[in-house]
Amino acid sequence: MENIAQQMHHIAYVTWDMDKTAHFWSHIMGLELVAHVSKPKVPSTGEDYPYLHMFFKLANGGDLAFFEVRNVPQNPQEVGISSALKHVSFEVSSEADLEEYRRRLEENGIAYTGPEEDSFNRYITFFDPNEIKVQLSLPLRSLNEQDAEAAHKLIEAWTAQKPDSQLPMGIASAIV
């Protein structure tokens, strides 16, 4: 299939406190609360989970979204390395903007780490009220064909050294 993904439309996380979430993302991080959807049942599955779904807008029109859902276990916090590796990164367009966000976090008593750099971004890391690991990233450079070629080689080498590595398979057979 041709790539039809233009951009992120929204990314949705769970919250156990929409009030705190709305305050953080709207008043501190500056994303406007633009819409809500609320249902007594889940439309796609029919399950009995009343929910409030809120959308906070990024400059490019994509939304960071949250669900607060009744009848689900409260705050089953994931701990350990797996929770630390998963994260989402939002982009700032200048060093000055990155500085401004650092200042806002500091003014609101929110701990962050960085700025640090990987091959592509300079970024700071913090946790939102839902303990979602968030980075704010300033791109250092754009990606090019050499990056793509190198990626294929790195993957080949990585896969070859994994003794139980699964070779590319029919996707249907990958469904459990």
């Binding site: 299939m1 949705a12 769970v14 609360l33 819409a35 400059a59 982009e91 990606l143 990626a151």
Partner: protein, 183 residues
Amino acid sequence: MAKLQKMNHVTHLTNNIPATVQFYTEVLGMKLVAAERRPLRPGDLTAYPDTKIESLDESGFGEQLTIMFEMLDGSRVAFVEVEGLTSWPSNPLPRWIKHMAMKVEREEDLHKAKATLQERGIGVIGPVNHGLFLSIYFFDPVNDVRLEYAYNVGTLDEEDGRLAWAALETWKAGAVPQNRAIY
């Protein structure tokens, strides 16, 4: 005032890089744009166990490989595999909650994508009409990540924002708020 421009990337965990590459490139048609292999660093492992940020112990784990697929605006979906990390706790919440929607340009893209996914034996829900947008839902079958393609059919105005703040108050009071007719 500074603004957050867009999603730069979202990073998920994987324990099967080749099948992940196959799904995102061959099925979804995204380009593999970069990979980065290096040891874990303390900054990779900051966690939030007791209301303060601290770094987890990286001993026992080897190198990590992060692979990245790109949407047309340059934002990326990334997966990281770490040597020594083969499994992790599954998400205890209903599987529809945490997800990522990708915006498509044409309504027919939803139908084409649904057909392509179904040909590969992947279950697809929708198109579901949310009023503001139409969506199909499916899972990345390798990594159990819930994905969505969404096509916008409506636009929001300031009233939607005002109603959203009002809905928050209703919800806090214990009721399920009304939606605007558009939904």
